[in-house]
């Protein structure tokens, strides 16, 4: 695992550069085992930086989430670089964003963290509820070590590991300026078994499954705002003229929202799993994205966020694309 001192040392060096405006990393949360994003603008703030299996956020989303205030007349916009720490899965968001020309490669400094898997915070807090004081999580071999309130708990890795890590194909970042640890070999793969199982059900069963989920949705848009690939200036679903989708929150509009969101990620979602993590009503959003992901891989042999030069999936075609469904 990444030694914190080495991490802070590299961070201090990076943030001290005059061509770097900000460094985005992780810091301890406000209670229990939580970790949260940290925004460093000066070397002094570096000592709060950490990395542990609790650092679940995908920091790549902040590169495109930043709201740019109008530049006062007579002043120049601050175009200095932004440094960001990314795990393997997060780094694919950078690759896909660059493939979509969101920014040039030289606008970012990437600190790559080879990742051995992060925790599912819900499982942790279910296992060890009501932990107020700051807790630590570390990975040793195939066990998570949780130290809090003077206790030291060992838990087999499998039991607390986030689902996305159980099918992770890219533990080592695909793009980085510096690697903060040795590379981690790929330790898992995705057989889409959950998607295949759902595909097999009848139309009624499938709809009953999704109807239950979509009826819970409160349209808080956290799944959209957390997603590194959702960075439109003004989301088409928020528009009133034309109004694709209405503001009212009911099964019809919620379904339309989730279809549109998932379709807009077809061939773009890099499976960082954030949308599902943040959903307050626990809608299995990854099961939506991964359906497109599986189809795109099987039909067009295309994996988003792996090659910054690749053309966007839906902006290309092959003459022999499958068309057996066409009359």
């Amino acid at each position: 695992m990444v030694e914190v001192e080495k991490l802070r040392e590299i961070a201090r060096e990076v943030i001290s550069r005059d061509d770097v405006r900000q460094l985005i990393g992780y810091r301890q949360g406000t209670y229990g085992f939580r970790a949260r994003p940290a925004f460093i603008t000066s070397p002094e703030e570096v000592d709060q930086l950490i990395f542990s299996p609790a650092c679940v956020n995908n920091l790549a989303t902040y590169l495109t989430l930043e709201e740019k205030l109008p530049v006062p007349r007579g002043q120049e916009p601050d175009l200095r670089k932004v440094a960001v720490m990314v795990k393997g899965c997060d780094s694919r968001a950078l690759v896909q964003q660059m493939e979509e020309k969101a920014y040039e490669r030289d606008r970012i400094v990437v600190l790559g963290i080879p990742c051995t898997g992060v925790v599912d915070m819900d499982k942790v807090e279910e296992r060890f509820p009501n932990v107020l004081s700051r807790g630590e999580i570390a990975l040793e071999g195939d066990k998570f070590i949780l130290s809090f309130d003077g206790r030291r708990e060992e838990v087999p890795k499998e039991e607390l590991l986030a689902d996305k890590c159980k099918r992770c194909r890219y533990p080592t970042p695909l793009v980085y300026d510096q690697l903060l640890d040795q590379e981690v070999a790929r330790f898992a793969d995705d057989d889409y078994s959950d998607i295949v199982e759902l595909e097999k059900r009848s139309a009624e069963e499938k709809w009953a499954y999704w109807e239950e989920k979509f009826s819970r949705c409160i349209r808080c848009y956290s799944c959209r705002n957390v997603c590194p690939m959702c960075y439109c200036e003004d989301c088409v679903l928020d528009r009133l003229n034309p109004q694709w989708m209405r503001r009212s929150v009911d099964l019809s509009e919620n379904t339309a929202y989730h279809i549109a969101r998932a379709y807009h990620l077809a061939g773009r979602c890099i499976q960082c799993g954030e949308c599902q993590r943040v959903c307050p009503v626990e809608i299995p959003l990854m099961e939506l994205n991964r359906k497109f992901y599986k189809d795109v891989e099987e039909l067009y042999d295309y994996e988003p966020g792996t090659d910054a030069e690749a053309p966007p999936l839906l902006a290309t075609f092959k003459v022999d694309d499958r068309e057996d469904f066409i009359l």
């Binding site: 949360g29 406000t30 209670y31 229990g32 939580r34 970790a35 949260r36 994003p37 925004f39 956020n57 989303t61 902040y62 989430l65 709201e67 205030l69 509820p129 009501n130 932990v131 107020l132 239950e212 989920k213 009826s215 819970r216 409160i218 349209r219 808080c220 848009y221 956290s222 959209r224 705002n225 957390v226 928020d238 009133l240 209405r246 503001r247 009212s248 929150v249 009911d250 954030e274 993590r277 943040v278 307050p280 009503v281 626990e282």
Partner: protein, 341 residues
């Protein structure tokens, strides 16, 4: 009113009795606890911390039709809330009830909101005291609330082990208690005293707190303070902390019209954390970034609302802390406000 007793075996019967009204109780949708109308008592799930979406959505639905209209037909078909019938929210937490009483002040302020107030009038709140704090981030005691708080409730149930102590607190509560009399027995006198002890114990278990003294007055002075930028740096601008807050009451009104000239005017929740909440038609936005919106969210609850209604619009339910995707913690912010020079 002498306190009553409702043994746990009779809970199902009592609920069955209540199904003749619109009975709303905590129920499970997959692993998520949500308040929804139940017709079969078995659906009720009382062994829970607190729901993700507060029961506010019962009296202040996320989307509600105000009236319907049709081209060429001058008469508006107004939504009659009466049709929804008397409602019983069974098993809600004291903080959520207290939140409703706070929000009542706004909806009956310079304009009596017909929809909300009628619904409140039709609704009887049967609270369930928190023997254990639903989450580590509860801080109701810092806001004048309590795990055994009675404010806003019509009946308070206290889990005494094999039965619930039933305390009717209002006229509505007594009426409901009469309806349920067949399932209740008289509770021995010392039960209520025992409940108070349990209350004190429960209040002791609340782990987090904030001293709100002086915050309402201090907040306006921190308008350009550094803390807001730092606190909101990680914010995604989503609607979780507002939609899930029992005291948030902002709404947007929109007309949903179809080509054939039929339509409805509907009211739906809005969030001050969304950018288009204050987006002007000209494109100007007085709160252009999430820094201003976070400042506004905290200041509204802890300064503007108290200035107008003498109560802080927060009941310390902890939802905004538990469910924020990036762990923005209102207590941490408030502490920074207190410490800010």
């Amino acid at each position: 009113m002498a306190a009553k007793k409702l043994s746990k075996e009779k809970v199902q019967e009592a609920l069955q009795e209540l199904t003749k009204f619109r009975l709303i109780a905590p129920a499970k949708s997959d692993e998520v606890v949500i308040f929804k109308q139940i017709t079969d008592p078995g659906e009720a799930f009382l062994d829970y911390g607190n729901s993700t979406v507060p029961p506010k959505k019962v009296v202040f639905p996320q989307t509600e039709t105000l009236f319907r209209f049709q081209r060429g037909n001058p008469e508006l078909r107004e939504k009659n809330v009466e049709e929804e019938g008397t409602t019983v929210i069974f098993g809600l937490r004291p903080c959520d009830a207290r939140a409703m009483s706070i929000v009542d002040r706004l909806f009956s302020w310079d304009f009596e909101d017909p929809y909300y107030l009628k619904r409140r009038e039709l609704t009887t709140l049967v609270g369930l005291a928190c023997n254990e704090p639903p989450s580590i981030n509860c801080f109701c005691t810092s806001l004048g609330g309590s795990p055994f708080g009675k404010e806003g409730l019509d009946i308070l149930l206290t889990d005494m082990g094999d039965h619930y102590l039933v305390q009717a607190l209002t006229e509505k509560g007594e009426k409901l208690q009469d309806i349920l009399s067949a399932h209740l027995e008289d509770a021995p006198a010392e039960e209520e005293k025992k409940a108070e002890e349990m209350a004190a114990q429960a209040e002791g278990k609340i782990a987090r707190s904030i001293n709100t003294e002086g915050i309402p007055e201090k907040l306006p002075t921190l308008w350009e303070h550094e803390l807001w930028k730092k606190a909101s740096a990680a914010c995604l601008g989503c609607g979780i902390c507002t939609f899930l807050c029992p005291t948030c009451h902002c709404f947007d009104i929109q007309d949903e019209v179809e080509e054939m000239g039929e339509g409805r005017r509907a009211r739906m929740w809005d969030s001050c954390m969304f950018s288009e909440y204050t987006l002007h038609a000209s494109g100007h936005n007085p709160r252009p970034t999430r820094r201003e919106r976070t400042r506004n969210r905290i200041s509204h609850k802890y300064s503007y609302y108290p200035k107008r209604f003498e109560v802080i619009a927060c009941v310390g339910c902890g939802r905004c802390i538990n469910l924020c995707p990036v762990n923005i913690d209102i207590l941490e912010i408030l502490e920074q406000v207190v410490d800010a020079s």
